[in-house]
Point group: C2
Chain length 367, copies 2
Amino acid sequence: MALKFELLKTHKNARRGRIYLPHGVVETPTFMPVGTNANVKLMTPENLEEIGAQIILANAFHLYLKPGMEVLRHHNGIHDFMNWEKPILTDSGGFQVFSLRKGRKITKEGVLIKSPLDGSMRMITPELSMEIQNSIGSDIVMAFDYCAEPGISHQDAVVALELTTLWAERSLKSIRNMSDQSIFGIVQGAFYKDLRERSAKEITSMDFDGFAIGGLSVGEGYDITLEMTEFTVPLLPENKPRYFMGAGAPRLIVDLVNLGVDIFDSVLPTRVARHGQALTWKGKMNVRAAKYKFDKSPIDDECTCYTCRNYSRSYIRHLFDRGEVLGQMLLTIHNLHFMMDLSKKIRESIDGGYFEKLRGEVLKYYD
Amino acid sequence: MALKFELLKTHKNARRGRIYLPHGVVETPTFMPVGTNANVKLMTPENLEEIGAQIILANAFHLYLKPGMEVLRHHNGIHDFMNWEKPILTDSGGFQVFSLRKGRKITKEGVLIKSPLDGSMRMITPELSMEIQNSIGSDIVMAFDYCAEPGISHQDAVVALELTTLWAERSLKSIRNMSDQSIFGIVQGAFYKDLRERSAKEITSMDFDGFAIGGLSVGEGYDITLEMTEFTVPLLPENKPRYFMGAGAPRLIVDLVNLGVDIFDSVLPTRVARHGQALTWKGKMNVRAAKYKFDKSPIDDECTCYTCRNYSRSYIRHLFDRGEVLGQMLLTIHNLHFMMDLSKKIRESIDGGYFEKLRGEVLKYYD
């Protein structure tokens, strides 16, 4: 079933939407927790339900290496495998493939890379990426793209753009022949407006079910991220969902919603949780700090998550102090709850016409 | 409130009992999960409730070092601190203190040891141990004892025994002056029957609320463990609970119940879970094995735990294969559920008069 997207309301450029998918409905804007290896680190599906996750992201490339397509098909896809019944979006492997620069060989056919797990050489093509994502059975599939690195020359960025367009065509054709999974195209073009414009034109000319902005928030300056997004978003059709790949910082999310983006993902909230950093409505907080040794208050007074309902800063600090993984578990729950709460508050503020006020609140504490 | 113990039924030497404690009722025989640093590794209190844990063990010595008595008192004890409302038993630190042999100095007063956390020298006395356990607020406190190492000479074992008796007197006096927490005395005597007899006589002559058998299952042969226990148990009063310190192997537990022991604890079920070993009704199982790659059945067909209700061997194997901690979380739930299920089945079999049949079943799969 191809997705259905409803644009419910706009507030200036900010959009309030709803995506209907085979495994459920996704209210947008929303953040997607990342579950790389068929699990969101330290979270059970029940934990994800409780924090209000509507859709999670899984990584095609990682799942291709392990457990492999055979195992995934044997389980009829990732939903049964990992016991998660709600929607899943899979990335195409484009980003991972381009992170593995050593020994990589790029041709029109695809990308030859060395597996980080066993050193074997693997040829990843758009068709293989679709086959993997089909074996995963995700609700939304991403086209296989060429994610250029920061600092790429205009000349090289043209090559990347042209391959991205070519591979987008082949991805679309391949998945349509294989299943009725929805597929998003990805706009690239590095940090060149003329290329962003050309990529947007070429990608949106194809019959994708949604569009992603790729190749940003990969190390460039914050102003450039916003400038390129502001330039690209108006080139995308209004009637389809817009996904910015790799946004997890609260500030970036409200700024992107402000520009008209609907969906986000990042490992940031879960990764910083494992290092003892909590996201709160008063900014970031290092729970390992000595000043919390006797602090009986919850991580965040305004938070209603399992962790804040039941545990003190003092206890969580103690768990981190002793290297007890339960501390990481509790903070992961808190941080993902914060991200879903932020998403919900963004939606409510667009509904209520006060998104800019909420954005101001977030920007006050996250710079 | 001192505990109340009811001996409900016996089947030969096996005992079915009930202990009333300030934080709840404990049906015996039962296994106690170990929560060294104010948490059972990878388990939330809700997880512990769900697997049927009635009482958990915490370690006075570890909690004394961190978070320290000040923090514990600030939280009015460990129950509020860790969000666990059911009974807690604390060991006295005797076992930990005697594991830290380097630079240790033993006198009548107590034991001078070097903190493994910061290298500082700490003098642990029976009185300090009681003060720590009082700050923890456990339902059952253990007397401070001298746990002798395997291979100890008869002469040295006499010294250990005499200190254990002296410290038991001081522990009892100290805790009675301080609170109405229940306290268990610990019978030592190494692997010498004359000393076990003398220790049992001296310790049981004091007004303890229950008795533990200490200094066994510390590296001696299995036959010696059983022989010493069989010799010691009849020297303990019938009307008080009996606790064998450090038993977690299913075979050892049914053998000890068979000799008349009521309570057990060990880190074994949780530790092996973190290394990929599952305890099942058909014996131990290494879930990392390649043969489970496509196996869609649960860890144990006969098991009703959260893990077995929701996940396949194939998925859990994948999580271990990728180093995902969720695999350890799921297996910890399973193994502790198995231990509580084993405890429950033991109780039912004593009630029903078929304990020996159950013991035979367990011995068939655990050797």
